[in-house]
Symmetry: C2
Subunit: 193 residues, 2 copies
């Protein structure tokens, strides 16, 4: 993890990596200049050499993660079973935990709020195009089940279960997953592996 006296962008990357790790482990409030510097193995003053302020660091960290996730999303949606792929992705803890921290952070860092809103719109647009096409192919009535609602429901349900899991709660999770997968299976058949 530590990167000492490396190439140009090594420290910058190390600082972002450290910030992300701390954010996941102890929440956004634990992300301080001194702590990310220690974790990255560099001096804390370097934070201000690479990023003007902590706000800028958070924004850049968010963008880096969002860019990666958007790529993963687009790749998943190219699957011949885009509903299965989307459902599996939305159940993946790794992205979701960070998203939730940034959501909380946005509450009192207003520069972050705009960044998240814009990013969310981009994600939703990509999801909508891919899943809207798929649902149309499957003959789903768009008046009865609009693609936006299907996306919103799957996203909300999976995120809620992820939050509950973080608190050690899982009542009804298995049943709920079974119901949703029953519906997906009716449209896309068994998940191909």
């Amino acid at each position: 993890m530590a990167a000492r006296r490396g190439s140009a962008e090594e420290s910058r990357t190390a600082l972002l990596d450290a910030a992300q790790q701390i954010m996941l482990e102890d929440g956004y409030a634990a992300v301080t200049t001194r702590r990310i510097a220690t974790e990255a193995g560099v001096n804390s003053a370097l934070v201000y050499y690479y990023f003007d302020t902590m706000d800028d660091l958070f924004i850049e960290l968010f963008r880096r993660g969002a860019d990666r996730s958007l790529e993963r999303l687009q790749e998943a949606l190219r699957s011949p079973q885009p509903l299965w792929a989307f459902w599996e992705l939305s159940q993946d803890q790794s992205r979701s935990a960070l998203t939730m921290e940034f959501t909380a952070l946005a509450n009192h860092r207003h520069s972050i709020r705009a960044e998240i809103a814009e990013s969310s719109r981009r994600f939703r647009k990509v999801e909508l195009e891919a899943l809207g096409d798929a649902l149309e192919r499957y003959g789903v009535d768009p008046h009865e089940w609009p693609a936006t609602s299907v996306i919103l429901m799957l996203s909300g349900i999976s995120r809620f279960m992820l939050i509950e899991k973080a608190f050690g709660l899982d009542l009804g999770h298995a049943d709920t997953v079974a119901i949703i997968e029953r519906h997906i299976r009716a449209l896309e058949g068994d998940r191909a592996r």
Copy 2:
């Protein structure tokens, strides 16, 4: 809002009220001894007279809100249309915003985490008893639609929409509400007012 030299518990209540307001406005990280004292109109040292630590203050604030919400929930579920009542309650911003802040807070205040988990179990138990009975009366097949799943889905979807709303996003919200209310209406008829 300010309470000066009042009766025994007035300052204590004022401090809790101030903490809650700040938490909602600027996030949990903005809840500091100095700020809640200023907002409550008392001296910051009083925080430690009434609460041993900030952790204790947060826990007491959470319990106070949870107790009130549980009462509201129980009252709502006594409605002749418990599904409608539950759905409307879960769409209510007022409680949800605080819950989300506490959820984020739990990430790095572990005493809070246990408190939330225990509270969630209590809520779910109450919801399950009332809505499980209702769904049975409506003739809903518990194998196809277990009450736990119905609760979890409604909760997750409404919370997701509330979060999105906070970011100025509402794509697909109206459609999704319409779908859910269509299903509730099929079981409980039109919402009586």
